[in-house]
Amino acid sequence: MKFNSLEFLFLFMPIVLIGFRVWPRRRQALLFITLASYVFYAFAAKWLTLLMLVSTTVDYTVGILLDREDRPGRRKLILLLSLVFNLGLLSFFKYFNFFVDGVNALRPGHPVLTTTLRVALPAGISFYTFQSMGYSIDVYRRHLKAARSYLEFASFVSLFPQLIAGPIVRPSVLLPQLAREGKVDDSRVTEGLFLFACGLAKKVLIADRIAFFADPILDSLSRQTPIDGWLAMVGFALQIYFDFSGYTDMARGLARMLGLEFTINFDSPYHADSPSDFWKRWHVSLSSWLRDYLYIPLGGNRKGERRTSFNLMATMLLGGLWHGAGFNFIVWGGFHGLLLLVFHRIERPWARLPRAAKHLVMLPLLVLSWVPFRMHSMADLAAFLRCVRGPIRAPAAPGALWLYVALGAVIVALPKNSNAIRWHELKWRHVFALAAVTTLAILHLNLSSKFLYFAF
């Protein structure tokens, strides 16, 4: 079930929101929301819902054991159990096909691994394994007390607003909120609904519209002019932002309607004036997760210049691989790692440049970074490079693409983003404008597609 579907908007969401509010006690409400989340997940993952249940049970037990155990060796062993389980699960479901294909590609025509098994990727597995793995690590580090209630922990892992595509909410942020008694303030419901509506409009009216016109160009690059190739890639840069930040707004809005607050995941990323600034604004919940659970444990910037460079590159490559089992994602991660390294070296002179100059450099680099992300294979990547190096001809892209790209660019350039808007203080005219846009989005729903990050 997608957030941008009629069954979600007119059946699932109202039932869950009303059901959540009518239960008099928090515990009952939590049970209801957990069951609802499993139903929601079952629409996407069917029997693989059981996998989430197993993962939840393993990490809940690991948390309890870690809390009880004081001997460092034993604690390490218990943590290792959690890491092996979670990473094993992720590796099998996400990278098995990639591994088999990769090995077999070494000797074309003579497959080394002759398995016929193809593993389907369960929706949201990358998100919920990182979330529950983060919990085990936090409990191990004694940054967090283990959850005593299985129900609270199960609802933390399965909470439907963030289950399929994040944000990856830290246990220290979400678990206390889930344990808190008390009714949801009605102003939060209003804010949440408006934020959700904003996300829906971003996804349906901008991201999907851009994709509608840009995808045919990016899927037939051998016949496109360089200007059209670049225009479509700028379109993709805007599409992925509006798609994913739209999803995040919807997730955060839903959480707010349930009286919860999720971490901010996007903060005007295209306003970034350096690569490190970009990663403080783009998919913040993932980049901060990688920083805290990978980059810093590897030594961060504490072990000299060469080790810092290695740590940065390793983190970005693994971050790329987290997005998908494909060489293009490794290239994407590597490109960002390289940008971080280069900008780390020129930090001081870069800081002295005027802000506009920084943007003039950053924006093209960011668009360029999306090339390997969008191109599904190395052959497609080569086709894009051939296209943009081709002779300059008059562009043939539809006018609507220019229009949607311009609209997206104007919205991206606005100084305020959806996090900064005080949704509960909207003026009447803004309320009705938002309602009109929401209606338009609902009437476009049958043209809407899945969220890009559902694939990860």
């Binding site: 009629l6 009605d186 609904l193 009447w428």
Partner: protein, 393 residues
């Protein structure tokens, strides 16, 4: 709670729900009216005029299944004579013309642009129910269509059911959840546009006389067939002429490179299975069938990335037709050999009357060993003697 929070929330919900309800309710009303006995009256009247005066009129159209399916349903009611040769297929079958047949009055072109096998079969079924089964069916199933990733609708709801007006009741690419089958299309942009168009047409005062109509690009307007138009038009035999086309001479739409025949495409097995099912139904109704794939323009036919698709298409469709004892004539890459020059095409997929005459010649001259003789007896001598176009020679 601050009262304004509740006011804002309620106002927002009321506005959205009211708009959605109003759009949905209006859609339902318009659909019910259009599908009822009062609905489509003007269209039926125009179809009667079109069919009664062959060659005189062209009825303007907006390509797409939203209007065409219901139009075909109306059309089968007003056909002048028994249909003996029926052409089915998508828009690339649209130029198969009655002028290629010895008795033009027994020919009907039932193509549906950009539509489904189910709806193509439905045209056959409606004709069979009303006037008996056609003797010979020429069914155009090009490779690209069978490589589309889409869900074929189950053919079970009659064509005059309101649910079909302005779009099929399912999402593109996703199965519709069973508990509210027609809601997605009810709240679709196509439905809203359809409703807005219908309401606007109601508001506008229309001149009742056919001759007084201007060529504005508006659909369902009868225009003289012997003049070029800015619109696509249906002719009385069910075939189509393109904008600016006159007396069979196409004005190609200026497409320089193939658009559809690109990228990696694979056959949709579900569509192959549906083809098999509908072939069985046609044979059970005692119709003879020739399945054919029309030629593509040379650049699309020779596109290297598409060769695996063309080969797979030929193999899989031939398996089905051989199993059913039906002819299959795959002309996908044979356009140049048949004498169809790029100028005979409107674009990479759509061939004009001259090239379609050569398709008939191929079907009647050995390419279809089972039913070809019957076709040969019906086509004109000019078709059998058709030469390559000047530019192809």
């Amino acid at each position: 709670m601050h009262p304004s929070h509740r006011q804002r929330l309620l106002a927002f919900l009321a506005f959205v729900c009211a708009c959605v309800v109003v759009v949905g309710w209006t859609n339902q009303r318009v659909k019910a009216r259009e599908s009822g006995s009062e609905g489509g009256k003007a269209l039926r009247e125009q179809l009667r005029v079109l069919v009664a005066q062959p060659g005189r009129w062209g009825l303007t159209m907006t390509p797409g299944p939203a209007q065409e399916r219901t139009l075909r349903a109306e059309w089968t009611r007003v056909l002048a004579a028994r249909v003996e040769v029926l052409v089915l297929g998508q828009s690339d079958a649209d130029h198969m013309s009655s002028t290629s047949f010895k008795d033009p009055s027994t020919f009907y072109n039932g193509f549906l642009s950009n539509s489904y096998l189910a709806y193509q079969y439905e045209v056959f079924d409606e004709i069979t129910r009303r006037r008996g089964a056609p003797k010979l069916v020429l069914w155009d199933v090009r490779s690209g269509y069978l490589a589309q990733v889409h869900e074929e609708p189950a053919w079970e709801v009659p064509a005059d059911d309101p649910v079909w007006y302005a779009g099929a009741p399912f999402y593109h690419g996703d199965a519709t959840p069973p508990w509210y089958r027609d809601i997605p299309s009810l709240l679709s942009l196509a439905q809203t546009e359809f409703t807005a168009r219908s309401l606007l047409a109601d508001l506008r005062a229309r001149d009742a006389t056919i001759e007084a109509r201007a060529d504005t690009g508006e659909p369902f307007v009868l225009l003289p067939a012997d003049r070029a138009s800015i619109s696509h038009r249906w002719l009385s035999d069910g075939s189509r002429v393109y904008p600016q086309e006159l007396a069979g001479r196409l004005v190609p739409r200026g497409q320089t490179a193939p658009q559809e025949a690109r990228g990696e495409r694979k056959l949709t097995e579900a569509s192959i299975a549906m083809l098999d099912v509908y072939l069985q139904k046609m044979l059970a109704a005692n119709a003879r069938v020739i399945v054919y794939a029309p030629p593509l323009r040379a650049d699309a036919a020779s596109e290297p990335t598409q060769q695996p698709l063309y080969a797979a298409f030929d193999r899989r469709v031939r398996e089905v037709t051989d199993r059913r004892g039906v002819d299959f004539c795959d002309l996908t890459v044979r356009g140049a050999k048949m004498g169809c020059a790029p100028g005979d095409f409107y674009d990479e997929l759509h061939l004009g009357r001259a090239c379609d005459a050569r398709v008939l010649r191929e079907l009647a001259s050995g390419c279809a060993p089972r039913a070809g003789a019957e076709l040969r007896a019906r086509v004109t001598d000019a078709v059998l003697a058709s030469e390559p176009s000047a530019s192809a020679r």
